[in-house]
């Protein structure tokens, strides 16, 4: 299959550098976007088969960690630092080097579990674990925030006020005045403060990036693509925005739990004490950010970079965030 011609190079790298691996097979592309490609494959050892994942830069290119994303080698180091604090995340098995000829990227273990919000929120098999998830997510975020960021010195620091200013600049560049967004920016400006503490932030902690087991609940935190340093409230609030509740509006945390449960898990795992109000202020920030990202999808369509109907349609989802902001700010 075209595009998988790097399998021999991948096999050579892994058999040379990872003890116990004798061969690889079943390389299958799972997804690919502008920023990363993901492949599943099996590695064979004397004692059995290891299910693995390869994440690499598109087309096997050299990845500079451009734009919002983090370089893949940095992402791998951030996952390792998080795991050292007890975070359930796939173990990084190998980080590719230029000599391997596969492109920039890394290999990690392939974990089992569900990432589809609709199943997690509605299927019977998750009934038992669903009430625990908000607490478990709080614990996981506390652990992520305890990671030793000095292990990953290249992580970019983005504080709340800085992020607000950057998003305002993006919004203004789109030149599409939206009074609700303008109001949210004005409302947030005096309320989004410098962080009390600067920590390693996952940056995209939400459905799709958390893997749930019907037996144990939170099984893995995935997709560390925009990991950075910043305010703990950025992670604590992002999973609370209405977009990630998938219709279960009354359960603020991901449609499965309440903010006090999440904050209790956060504190019990050694995190700072935050209030429901702190999270709500940052929830406004989250909805605004997602709304501006939707505007960005339209921009990608308008400028001709991606003419898909999907890109165009997502542009119209900006108004979902406008109504969420109206509900938050006006009530």
């Amino acid at each position: 299959m075209a595009g998988l011609d790097f399998e021999p190079a991948l096999a050579a790298a892994l058999t040379r550098h990872v003890q116990g691996i004798t061969s690889v097979g079943k390389l299958t592309r799972l997804s690919g976007g502008a920023s990363q490609e993901t492949f599943a494959f099996d590695a064979h050892t004397a004692s059995g088969t290891l299910p693995l994942i390869l994440r690499r830069a598109p087309g096997g290119s050299r990845d500079g960690g451009s734009g919002q994303g983090t370089a893949l080698a940095t992402e791998a180091r951030a996952i390792t630092a998080a795991r050292a604090c007890g975070v359930k995340a796939p173990e990084v098995v190998y980080v590719l080097t230029p000599q391997d000829g596969v492109g920039d990227g890394y290999v990690m273990e392939r974990v089992e579990g569900e990432t589809l919000a609709r199943k997690i929120l509605r299927d019977k098999e998750f009934d038992a674990v669903r009430p625990k998830l908000a607490y478990q997510c709080g614990q996981a975020m506390a652990q992520i925030h305890q990671a030793d960021a000095s292990q990953v010195p290249e992580l970019r620091l983005v504080t709340g006020p800085q992020q607000l200013a950057e998003y305002y600049e993006r919004y203004r560049a789109y030149d599409l005045p939206k009074p609700v967004f303008e109001m949210a920016f004005a409302w947030l400006k005096p309320r989004i403060k410098e962080p009390k503490r600067t920590v390693m932030v996952h940056g995209d902690f939400r459905h799709g990036n958390i893997m749930i087991s019907p037996k144990t609940g939170l099984a893995a935190v995935l997709d560390w693509e925009i990991v950075h340093r910043g305010d703990p409230l950025e992670d604590l609030s992002w999973i609370c925005i209405n977009a990630w509740r998938f219709g279960v509006t009354g359960k603020v945390v991901g449609g499965f739990g309440d903010v006090p449960e999440m904050l209790a898990g956060y504190r019990d795992a050694g995190g700072d004490a935050y209030t429901v109000e702190d999270v709500r202020t940052w929830e406004v920030m989250g909805s605004l950010k997602w709304g501006i990202m939707c505007m960005g999808m339209y921009e990608v369509f308008r400028t001709g970079y991606d003419r898909s109907v999907e890109r165009a349609a997502i542009g119209r989802r900006s108004s979902e965030n406008e109504i969420d902001l109206v509900n938050l700010l006006i009530g």
């Binding site: 939206k178 609700v180 109001m183 004005a186 509740r245 349609a313 108004s319 979902e320 109504i323 509900n327």
Partner: protein, 130 residues
């Protein structure tokens, strides 16, 4: 000048083709994109139906709020400038209500099934009952 079928009827026909004829024969990414395309056409149908009255009401509210004339684009840009400068905020009489009504109309066109719209409409009903 108005020919038949109307613009709305033509778009409905195209959407129904996608939903009833094309989608059952498609698989994978193409089936997914056909669904997205059908949803996009449904947005267009709703905008044709609801849009003109919504825009007219928005324009009337903006004219009153800003006490000036202009196109919808000009008035929205002017409103944004006044919010940004701090000249107008949520305590400005009529502004919160304008933002609420305008956004409700937008989402009725864009994503009528979105949970946030139900929340906003439920609050409006409650407000009206008080």
């Amino acid at each position: 000048m108005m020919d038949k079928p109307t613009l709305a009827e033509i778009i409905t026909a195209a959407r129904e083709f996608l939903e009833n004829k094309a989608m059952p024969e498609l698989t994978g990414r193409t089936a997914f994109h056909a669904r997205v395309a059908a949803n996009a056409l449904a947005i267009a149908e709703r905008e044709i139906t609801i849009g003109p009255a919504a825009a007219e009401a928005e324009h009337a509210r903006l004219t009153l709020l800003l006490n000036r004339h202009g196109t919808l684009e000009e008035l929205n840009a002017a409103l944004c400038a006044r919010i940004s400068s701090g000249d107008m905020d949520l305590d400005t009489p009529g502004l919160a209500e304008h933002l609420r009504l305008t956004t409700i109309d937008k989402v009725r066109i864009d994503q009528p099934n979105y949970s946030g719209l139900k929340t906003a409409l439920a609050r409006e009903d409650r407000g009206a009952a008080v």
